[in-house]
């Protein structure tokens, strides 16, 4: 062995700078991958539009038949709600518990565990990158929906700024919630049932199915105490509703709070879960 060159550890860049570099590089890579399959992505996005369009048609019809409003919302406000809903939904898509289940069951996690960066960074950066082409694909859909359904918008500049921040807050809350759920796979191998329960709660208490103002008072009060509201209803309301500056700040604060709680729960479960990893499949 004496003939071999002396080994010196490779040089490395500073941590913060390279974390930023990693996010930019991963996002760029994901954008390229999305453009590779633009037709498939567009079809996927069109499929996603079906859900809000159904809600929109139903509520607009009911509003028209009820003398113009339902629960104080006009057909134009419903249209605005579901058009923004589509954008929020597109932007808060995250790596799901099914993804974690696949990743753990197939041993795909091994490759990521071997790298000196927590796998959650790949998910955050990767899905964030995908959103840029999705946003481009969304724009013509929004134009068509606007022409067909004639939404009512009354937006202040500050609301646009808060919306731009809030959709990323929503993205982070959903990422950590669903990743923590995904880690349950380490114990149960399958996580589908739990995830279905999560989706039911989200449909009802996030404003995903109907605007929360149409729910009974107790359900609205409950939605304040859970993270779901801050992942759909709050970002939508920043553009569609009539929130005061104080309410906008409180909403962003709640997003920060639920992001921190999500990170805490995820980290706690992760530390226990990873000990159970058996690296099957490779």
């Amino acid at each position: 062995m004496s003939t071999l060159p002396a080994v010196s550890p490779p040089r490395q860049e500073g941590r913060l700078r390279s974390l930023g570099d990693f996010y930019v590089t991963t996002m760029r890579t994901q954008i390229q991958a999305q453009f590779q399959y633009r037709a498939a992505t567009y079809m996927y996005l069109l499929g996603m539009v079906a859900e809000p369009v159904i809600y929109l048609v139903v509520w607009s019809t009911i509003a028209d038949q009820s003398g113009g409003t339902v629960g104080g919302l006009t057909a134009g406000q419903f249209a605005a709600y579901y058009i923004v809903w589509t954008l929020v939904r597109t932007m808060n898509i995250v790596f799901t518990p099914y993804g974690w289940e696949w990743r753990i069951r197939e041993g795909e996690l091994s490759g990521q565990l071997l790298r000196p960066l927590h796998p959650i960074h790949y998910d955050i950066a990767g899905f964030a990158g995908e959103k840029i082409p999705w946003l481009l694909y969304y724009l013509p859909i929004a134009v068509v929906l606007t022409l067909v359904f004639d939404p009512t918008f009354d937006v202040r500049p500050v609301e646009i700024v808060v919306f731009a921040v809030a959709i990323w807050g929503a993205y982070l809350i959903r990422t950590f919630n669903q990743s923590a759920l995904g880690l349950v796979t380490f114990w149960t191998t399958r996580v589908g049932a739990l995830f279905s329960l999560y989706i039911v709660l989200e449909l009802l208490l996030a404003g995903r199915l109907v605007p929360l103002t149409l729910l009974p008072g107790w359900a609205q009060a409950l939605s304040w105490l859970l993270p779901f509201r801050w992942t759909f209803y709050f970002p939508i309301e920043t553009l569609v509703g009539d929130l005061s500056n104080a309410e906008l700040v409180v909403g962003l604060g709640m997003q920060v709070l639920w992001t921190v709680v999500g990170i805490g729960i995820f980290s706690l479960v992760w530390r226990r879960a990873i000990r159970r990893y058996t690296a099957v499949g490779n």
Binding site: M1, L4, P5, A6, V7, P9, P10, R11, Q12, E13, G14, R15, S18, D21, F22, V24, T25, T26, T29, Q32, A33, Q36, Y37, S110, G111, L113, L114, R115, P116, L117, R275, Y277, T278, A279, N282
Partner: protein
């Protein structure tokens, strides 16, 4: 004294595996009471590997080779015992540790499937925080060594298995790991590609002084690369030493391949005839008898050609496992 690159003491890994009979009745019973059994995949092994050493880790399927490599690379927590790699406890998966090792598994794709490998290399640069000039120098060196200049621009999904393996290796070594775990790196590749990968591993180790631990079912890999082998079976080490020593320890015989000019008659008086192909006869003789038998053959037969060889390594390994089964 130099600290070993890899130090393993009484290392053990136990998996709890669910178990049930086939059929609906057993499945229903499993709803109420789950049956599991413990599998000791690795059962108290100890060894050390010096910096820069290249070691072959041999054993049949299920022997515990890959489990050991996974513990050493930090993928699995150990059940008992201790492992240290470059002074780190692998299961802690400290960044400084992960930046200095690499585990390459045959048939496992870690590159972006839809994009050219160059994009994945760029991603690895950011993950491993490699300064750009170091990255470009290393990337180009590896591309040149493995002759993959025209492959790295194609989407990975369009590469053949062998081509993909080569670009996988480039991706796994960009951060210049000091310890390299190779798990069946040549599996499924044709002989030319296997040879190319072998030459590359030897060259990488020579240039960068890396410590290499290699598992392979291809003895050609082991013979070409490894001075030392560790043989593992049922989670226990059966042999740890140099390759020639393994043959000496286990196989107390040599083979004599002899071509006889006057038509090979019955040569069983010289030793066990283990192969016959026309005039070529292969004899197995006790090690201590080799010189005497060779002299007799030369004196008594019309010998056109004669070769004395150690037994093939495959036979030696088989003998090790057979002996362990008897014991």
């Amino acid at each position: 004294m130099t600290e070993p690159a890899v130090r393993v003491e009484d290392l053990a890994k136990v998996f709890e595996v669910p178990e049930r009979e086939a059929g609906l009745r057993a499945a229903t019973r499993g709803l109420v009471r789950r049956k599991t059994r413990e599998v000791r995949a690795v059962d108290g092994i100890s060894f050390q590997i010096a910096p820069g050493e290249i070691v072959g880790f041999l054993g049949p399927n299920g022997a515990g080779k890959t489990t050991t490599l996974k513990m050493l690379s930090g993928l699995l927590y150990v059940t008992d015992g201790e492992a240290r790699v470059l002074g780190h406890v692998p299961s802690k998966r400290e960044r400084d540790f992960l930046r200095r090792i690499s585990l390459v598994m045959g048939n496992r794709n870690q590159l972006q499937w839809d994009l050219p490998a160059l994009d994945s290399f760029e991603l690895n640069r950011s993950i491993y925080r490699i300064p750009r000039e170091d990255f470009l120098a290393m990337r180009d060196e590896l591309i040149e060594l493995l002759e993959v200049g025209d492959l790295v621009r194609k989407p990975v999904r369009q590469l053949s298995l062998g081509e993909r393996m080569k670009v996988e290796i480039v991706g796994a070594l960009l951060h210049r790991p000091q310890v390299l775990f190779l798990d069946e790196p040549t599996i499924g590749l044709d002989v030319t590609m296997q040879k190319r990968i072998r030459e590359f591993v030897a060259e990488y180790r020579r240039r960068h002084g890396a410590t290499v631990m290699l598992t392979s079912h291809y003895m050609a890999d082991v013979e070409a690369l490894c001075e030392r082998v560790i043989v593992i079976h049922h989670g226990r080490i059966l042999f740890d030493g140099d390759l020639a020593g393994l043959a000496n320890t286990v196989a107390a015989w040599k083979t004599i391949a002899v071509v006889v000019g006057n038509g090979a008659g019955d040569l069983s008086a010289y030793g066990d005839v283990i192969h016959r192909d026309g005039d070529l006869v292969t004899l197995r003789v006790a090690k201590g008898e080799t010189a005497r038998v060779t002299a007799r053959l030369l004196a008594e037969q019309d010998v056109l050609d004669l070769n004395v060889e150690d037994p093939p390594i495959e036979d030696v390994i088989e003998l090790v496992f057979a002996r362990e089964a008897v014991e």
